[in-house]
């Protein structure tokens, strides 16, 4: 009886989707030739597919409802509480990342490098969005600043990769502060649109100011990083860049991790949670916001330099809004504020479209669908955030206070 009911509902859903997709899926017009092609088979396909998907989801939903309550948010607590498992997992990951470029092809290494770069971008944006709660839709601007810093410094002054790396990072940080000033008073989505505009402004300037940036045709022949002055072959330098990226990832994780549980990190979180209370606690909102923008931008700048060195060619087309959106998705899907979550999400977001290449034309279609699906399945992110707990150090005082009655405690 229930099943029949479900089938009936799924049938209605199928009908709805057949109606919905009818003009676009079935009729293909060619207004140039006044030609019309009817593709009825598509209608059948949509009907059947939506029927089964809806039916399966219904069953899954029922199962989920009956299976106890929601599973507890996935956290790293389980792992980190068990130091042995934690360290052995870490060792395996470390070993794997060390041998990776030697057992996989240049292409896979190259993709993995890209993924690592996105890990850093994700962690950087995580400072701004995840920790400080400032929604930034123009993060890619700082990435562009880094990339163009290296390209231009190299073009005009012949500066090398390693010199440009800190310069690019610092320039990006400066831009972060530049963006930070006008938006100090803005909240939530107003901040989002201004940062989006900022990202677009940077890209448009790069596109239009030919004398400065060589315009849309971009800058070519940017040298790959050299190893103590030796120029490496293409294959070797792919591996080399991979290790640089890996190193930067480790460095980023180290820094972000320390920042998170520091005085500044706590202030960022407080800012995110409640701006007014945060100020009332004596936190200088302006400084803390600017620090977040600058810190976030620094990483983007660094990755930008690496990006220019890896691709050897840059143009403004690499720094579109969509890029910012993807980085933001990494942060949100990772679970805002969670380092491991961001790492996993970055890998997912870069590797997924690559593996979807097998579906050729359907690649981006599936990518969009998966994005929606992932958000629905895990709206709070892959890894829930866990705040650091403190064990009582050499706290002065005694052990009398056990019961919760206030008056006894003082």
């Amino acid at each position: 009886m229930r099943i029949i009911n479900e089938i009936k509902k799924s049938f209605l859903v199928a009908l709805w989707f057949m109606f919905l997709t009818f003009p676009i899926m079935v009729i293909k017009v060619n207004p140039l030739e006044k030609l019309i092609v009817w593709r009825w088979h598509n209608l059948a396909m949509v009907g059947i597919a939506s029927f089964f998907i809806s039916f399966l989801l219904r069953c899954a939903g029922r199962w989920r409802k009956s299976a106890a309550r929601r599973p507890p948010a996935l956290t790293m607590k389980g792992l980190s509480n068990n130091p042995r498992a934690y360290y052995s997992a870490l060792a395996v990951i470390a070993l794997f990342s060390l041998v990776f470029p030697f057992i996989f092809s240049a292409y896979e290494t190259s993709i993995m490098t890209t993924a690592l770069m996105y890990v850093i971008l994700g962690l950087g944006l995580n400072i701004v969005v995840g920790l400080a709660g400032l929604l930034d839709l123009g993060y890619v601007a700082f990435y562009a600043v880094g990339a163009y810093s290296y390209a231009l410094l190299n073009y005009h002054f012949g500066l090398g990769f390693w010199v440009s790396l800190p310069i690019g990072a610092m320039l990006a940080a400066a831009f972060g502060i530049l963006l930070g000033f006008p938006v100090l008073r803005l909240r939530g989505d107003y901040l989002a649109i201004v940062t989006l505009g900022f990202g677009e402004i940077i890209r448009l300037i790069l596109e239009n100011w030919n004398d400065f940036s060589f315009g849309p045709s971009g800058i070519a022949n940017i040298p790959r990083p050299s190893l103590f002055g030796i120029n490496l072959s293409l294959a070797a330098s792919t591996i080399y860049v991979y290790f640089i990226a890996l190193l930067l990832v480790i460095f980023t994780i180290f820094v972000v991790n320390r920042l998170q549980d520091s005085r500044i990190g706590r202030a960022w979180i407080a800012l995110r949670e409640d701006e007014i209370a945060c100020q009332a606690m004596g936190i200088d909102k302006t400084r803390i916001k600017l620090a977040a923008f600058a810190m976030g931008a620094t990483w983007a700048g660094m990755v930008g330099v690496l990006f220019a060195a890896k691709t050897t060619f840059i143009n403004p087309a690499s720094f579109t809004f969509m890029e910012s959106a993807i980085i933001l998705s990494i942060v949100v899907l990772g679970g805002m504020g969670s380092i491991i979550g961001v790492v996993i999400a970055a890998l997912l977001f870069v590797l997924l479209p690559e593996y979807l290449r097998a579906f050729a034309d359907y690649r981006m279609l599936l990518f969009g669908a998966v994005m929606v699906l992932m958000m629905i399945v895990r709206p709070q992110g892959i890894i829930g955030k866990v705040r650091r707990t403190y064990v009582r150090g050499q706290v002065t005082g005694d052990k009398r206070q056990k019961n919760g009655i206030i008056t006894n405690l003082l």
Binding site: L20, I36, G188, L204, V332, M371
Partner: protein, 300 residues
């Protein structure tokens, strides 16, 4: 002076185009606080549906006015259906989630819909028939304002008026405002929140479809990607005017359109968008919640 007027009317046309799309953005934002990145795609789907139906009817040998009406209706119905479905699939399950989750879902939806139309139809630009008739009485003025400009301008004005009246004075409008301000409390006074939200999406989508039809007809061509650029600009317009405010969306659209037009005319079209976004930043510095936006000054 003449040049100034020319630019002014150019800006007005562009502005009313932005405004028309911005209205839908602002309505959805107003009610669930979501930047609906898929709104541009609804606009695109509306335009595509209109094109498909119009071509179909042309082949069947119908005449001008009938085509405009039927394809327009089809576009609205389908845009509404898509808007409704998208809300049910991608946003409703995320209603109690962290604020950014639906935003990402919207971006995913936008990517999905673009590619869906591209695959099912074509990646190429298609000519869009000139559905808006050329009024004879506009002929003398066509140097600076054409028939389609006029129609778009009027449609925007009428849409704004109707929406404002609806939201201010009708029962549904009150329910929408109540839902926007406190969804749970709205339920507690007996408002069917799901219905109100669906209704909002439907209205927003119908507006997008009207926009899609008129703008595609004005521009004369469409492809699967038109929603993205128009969407970003419309969103900017909505924020500029104060997101959530209906007259604000229209005002924002006009200001944006005029800025771009004058920037092109007196400076350079290379940087028209830089001017547009620059102005946005400038205005938000002085009015952090947009020109007509309510300041979110919560009572402490």
């Amino acid at each position: 002076m003449n040049y100034f007027l020319d630019l002014f009317f150019s800006g007005l046309t562009r502005g009313s185009i932005y405004a028309l799309i911005a209205l839908g953005y602002t309505m959805v934002y107003g009610i669930i606080g979501l930047i609906n990145f898929a709104h541009g795609e609804i606009y695109m789907i509306g335009a595509f549906t209109a094109l498909i139906i119009a071509s179909l009817l042309t082949v069947l040998g119908m005449n001008g006015m009938a085509i405009l009406v039927i394809s327009g209706l089809a576009a609205m119905v389908y845009a509404a259906a898509y808007g409704y479905t998208i809300e049910k699939i991608a946003y409703k399950p995320l209603r109690n989630s962290p604020r950014l989750a639906p935003l990402i879902s919207a971006i995913g939806m936008s990517i999905f819909l673009q590619n869906y139309v591209m695959l099912a139809q074509t990646s190429d630009f298609l000519p869009f028939p000139d559905l808006i008739p050329n009024f004879a009485f506009m002929e003398p003025y066509s140097d600076f304002i054409g028939s389609s400009d006029l129609v778009i301008l009027l449609t925007t004005a009428v849409a704004m008026l109707l929406l404002t009246i609806m939201i201010k004075y009708t029962r549904m409008g009150r329910a929408m405002r109540a839902t926007a301000q406190d969804m749970q409390m709205a339920m507690l006074v007996g408002i069917d929140v799901n219905r109100v939200i669906s209704f909002t999406f439907i209205i927003g989508s119908v507006l997008a479809a009207i926009g899609g039809l008129l703008i595609a007809s004005h521009v004369g061509q469409i492809n699967f990607y038109i929603g993205f650029i128009a969407g970003i600009k419309a969103f900017t317009a909505a924020v500029l005017g104060g997101i959530g405010s209906i007259p604000g969306a229209v005002l924002g659209g006009f200001i944006l359109g005029l800025t771009e037009s004058f920037a092109t005319g007196y400076v350079s079209s290379d940087y028209e968008d830089v001017f547009a976004f620059g102005l946005l930043v400038l205005i938000l510095i002085f009015r952090p919640s947009g020109i007509l936006g309510r300041s979110e000054n919560q009572k402490v």
